[in-house]
């Protein structure tokens, strides 16, 4: 990475670290802070209301998962359990400052998190996401949910969400998506100037920054990366990372893939990243545009039904479009829907003769767990490299 690119990355990551302090200042100044879970709560709406959004999306540590046990049973996925656990352990400085937490209820795991927020008297506001998404009935349900959310945000902030304000917010976040997409696309190069780990961290950083500031700094980064050299070995296997989520802080698997000599050139993740290929329409009614993009146009998450046929097709296209050598399916423990989806994906990949490795995590990254994980990922990357040498 060039010095200019490294500097840009440092600035962006540095801002993430100061997020809690900035939030504290803003809160003292009277601004409302709104937490959000999942992928269906439009950040545009929160920002248009004048509030600061905070995405609850941390993971990768075992203690918060354990801390949730007095309230949750152990067969919920560790990501959901962690969102509560960080708060219970006092490890999330932002949650106590939240004026509202918009909790998406799309699956059982996420809905239970909303239950516990209410039980613990956190200011939860649920938004129901019907997984039978292709019905008009379900689309209307989601639209109604967004309208209720808009009203609640207006009530909270005392500021009307105007059409112009919402449109400006949409445009601003579309700029973030555009620049992130352009940075991500640099990985289509034979030797990418940025890897998947840095790209994921960049994505995460974009959630904790004012969009215009982020877009400006990310544009500088893009420019520097375009000028810069590739960072990986010429024969580095190209890996696609797929699954539910790589949470903020849960970097063990992407790091190990790239430390093993692979490069993550694409992701198909349902949460924790911006789905940059799908911009929100800037014309027309902005509330309708949010519904259209957030609920209908994006790649449906695994919980939606039907979705696996569409998702497998998308994965195949991503494999071909990014010249992917192999897939790492990153699954969270006890995530039952993804566990079943893996079988469908593995079958399709076998037909394409694309190797796939399933890695399951309960966020136990102690040395005794990381060792075998590293060995598996190293072997997988090595086998992809060998396959590259031999050719198809």
């Amino acid at each position: 990475m060039t010095a200019k690119a490294a500097k840009s990355m440092e600035v962006i990551q540095g801002r993430v670290k100061t997020f809690p302090e900035r939030v504290r200042r803003e809160k003292r100044g009277g601004r409302k802070i709104v937490g959000m879970t999942g992928r269906f709560v439009p950040e545009e709406l929160v920002r248009a209301s004048g509030a600061i959004p905070y995405l609850l999306c941390r993971g990768g540590d075992p203690e918060p998962v354990e801390a949730s046990l007095p309230y949750m049973h152990r067969f919920l996925n560790p990501f959901v359990r962690a969102q509560l656990g960080y708060h219970l352990l006092g490890m999330d400085p932002v949650v106590p400052m939240l004026d509202l937490i918009v909790a998406q209820c799309d699956d059982c795991h996420a809905s239970r998190l909303a239950d516990l927020m209410e039980y613990l008297r956190l200011p939860a506001f649920r938004i129901g996401i019907p997984p039978d998404w292709q019905k008009e009935l379900s689309v209307r349900y989601y639209a109604k949910g967004l309208a209720r959310l808009k009203g609640r945000l207006e009530e909270l902030t005392g500021r009307r969400v105007t059409e112009a304000g919402l449109r400006a917010s949409i445009e601003s976040l579309n700029r973030v998506r555009t620049v992130l997409q352009e940075i991500g696309d640099l990985r289509k190069k034979e030797n990418p100037p940025i890897g998947g780990l840095d790209f994921l961290r960049l994505n995460h950083a974009s959630f904790y920054e004012e969009p215009d500031l982020f877009a400006a700094e990310a544009a500088s980064l893009l420019e520097a990366l375009e000028e810069g050299p590739g960072l990986f070995a010429p024969d580095a296997p190209r890996v696609l990372l797929a699954g539910r989520v790589v949470a903020v802080g849960d970097y063990a698997v992407p790091r190990l893939i790239e430390e093993s000599g692979g490069v993550i050139v694409a992701e198909v993740l349902d949460e924790g990243v911006r789905h940059c290929a799908w911009k929100v329409d800037e014309g027309g009614d902005p509330m309708d545009a949010l519904v259209e993009t957030y609920f209908l146009r994006r790649l449906p998450p695994s919980i939606f039904q039907p979705s696996w046929g569409i998702r497998v097709r998308h994965l195949k296209e991503s494999v071909l479009g990014n010249r992917v050598d192999g897939i790492v399916w990153y699954q969270l423990a006890f995530d039952e829907v993804y566990d079943m989806e893996y079988a469908a994906v593995a079958r399709a990949m076998s037909e394409m003769q694309v190797p796939i490795l399933k890695v399951e995590s309960s966020y136990e990254y102690a040395r005794e767990s990381t060792g075998p994980l590293a060995t598996r990922l190293e072997s997988f990357v090595e086998s992809l490299r060998a396959k590259r040498r031999v050719g198809p």
Binding site: Y71, H73, K135, L137, Q305, V312, D339, M340
Partner: protein, 468 residues
């Protein structure tokens, strides 16, 4: 297969002597289809059923027989399909009235059932022989370590082994779990592209404590979802169900619920005249459609009421007098040994029975609204706060000594709120709540021996509390 052993099995499960010769060939064929050997049937007759169920009562035997009839009927589905009968499957939990309405409209032209349920119930309740079925699904991708629901695994296996054919439509309900509906997508994507399914979902987005049946907007949405799903079923199978058939099926269901309430009231007698497992089994057709109809179980329930009143009159019970009794909302009838273990230690485990609200007449006239409202009065299908309210109501009404939770570890909805509910119920009633991790359907991980010490400890605590 020894015919005498099979005949004995049928006798044990309430079949009339006169009907056994006619039923026997189908029963033997069903055993063959389900990989049950003569040794399995012998074990069931000689060891398992007598040790697990109160077969002294005719009503109980007949109730068990209703399940046997359904399981045997399930294995006839390939034949039904060839004959042009339309096959409509579903999954638990669901509102059974639509399936009954369909059946009442065209009894000979349609087969309705939740195939996985009868497969699991038959194999595990009567033979303790479910595991091989589950292993087939696990090998195909529903991995063991992820703790998938045995019902979903059994549905996959039933199709994989050809026990059941592709349905005309599987109307799958995702009002509770995600895995149920997604399993149908799994079957379709990974094994049988003809597995046509239609899902009906309801987001879990009600704040804790909301009395969901009183939120008209929610009742309306659910009614629309039910209508949408049922219209799709009718379109696919080409059978048009008049709305009065839905109303009729609902009324029958409601009368059945009232009868269950009568039985529940009798269980409060000291000493309790019947165990929790048997009482729960008799209520099965309320929430799961029987292709052979609800009526045979209603008759078994009526007979059980008579039998139980006889026991009450004679002062006989299944527990010592003054024995502590725990409430358990959904008795794990596929693991009858659990309740027996409590009983052996002098503690009863009984279902909560219907809530006061469930016994009230509906607020609406439209049959879909009526069904939706009934669903949202459900004591296991609503938000955890409302659920806790309903549990507290019955804990206090029937003077239970505590609450037992657990055995739903595979269920990310029904099981995942247990710890939260335990807190809420304890806070509100001061009664002890015990959470036991386990599995409702299968016992590979949670065998009797692994739970014995815990059960014994709970029983000791309860007896000490009761003694003051």
């Amino acid at each position: 297969m020894n015919r005498d052993v099979c005949a004995e099995f049928l006798r044990f499960t309430g079949f009339e002597e006169s009907e056994i010769p006619g039923f026997l060939p189908d029963f033997i064929e069903a055993c063959r289809a389900l990989n049950l050997s003569e040794a399995d049937v012998r074990f069931s007759v000689e060891t398992w059923i007598p040790s697990q169920f109160d077969t002294e009562l005719e009503g109980v035997r007949r109730g068990l027989g209703c399940i046997v009839r359904e399981a045997v009927d399930l294995t006839r589905t390939p034949r039904y399909k060839k004959q042009g009968v339309k096959l409509v499957y579903g999954i638990l939990p669901a509102m059974s009235v639509y399936y009954y309405a369909l059946k009442r409209t065209a009894p000979d032209r349609v087969y309705v059932a939740f195939p996985d349920l009868f497969l699991v119930a038959f194999l595990q309740m009567f033979f303790h022989r479910l595991n091989p079925t589950l292993e087939i699904a696990e090998a195909a991708g529903m991995s063991y370590g992820c703790r998938h629901c045995a019902l979903n695994k059994a549905r996959f296996t039933a199709r994989r082994l050809g026990i059941i054919p592709s349905p005309d439509i599987s109307w799958i309900w995702g009002f509770v779990c995600d895995e149920g509906p997604k399993t149908d997508e799994f079957i379709q994507e990974c094994f049988d592209s003809d597995w046509r399914n239609y899902s009906t979902r309801l987001p879990h987005d009600q704040p804790l404590g909301t009395q969901e049946d009183e939120v008209d907007e929610r009742v309306e949405y659910l009614a629309l979802q039910m209508r949408d799903g049922f219209e799709q079923v009718q379109r696919v199978v080409g059978i048009s169900v008049p709305e009065e058939k839905i109303a009729e099926a609902f009324e029958i269901r409601q009368r059945f619920v009232e009868k269950m309430g009568e039985l529940r009231d009798l269980l409060t007698v000291d000493p309790p005249p019947l165990g929790g497992v048997e009482a729960f089994i008799l209520g099965m057709p309320r929430d799961m459609p029987f292709n052979t109809g609800l009526e045979p179980m209603a008759e078994a329930l009526e007979q059980t009421l008579k039998d139980v009143r006889g026991r009450v009159a004679a002062g006989r019970g299944v527990l010592p007098r003054q024995a502590p009794v725990l409430m358990y909302e959904i008795i794990p009838y596929c693991q009858p040994w659990l309740v027996k273990m409590f009983m052996e230690n002098g503690v009863g485990v009984m279902p909560g029975g219907p809530t006061q609200k469930q016994l009230q007449p509906p607020r609406f006239e439209d049959p879909y609204m009526v069904a939706a409202e009934a669903w949202l009065k459900g004591s296991v299908t609503v938000n955890a706060g409302y659920k806790a309210d309903q549990i507290c109501e019955r804990l206090l009404r029937y003077k239970f000594d505590g609450l037992l939770l657990g055995f739903l570890d595979f269920d990310r909805w029904l099981g995942s709120d247990n710890r939260l509910i335990a807190r809420m119920v304890e806070e509100r009633t001061g009664l002890p709540v015990f959470y036991v991790e386990g599995d409702f359907w299968e016992d590979r991980d949670y065998s009797p021996e692994s739970l014995r010490t815990r059960v014994e400890s709970i029983c000791e605590i309860l007896k000490m509390r009761k003694a003051g």
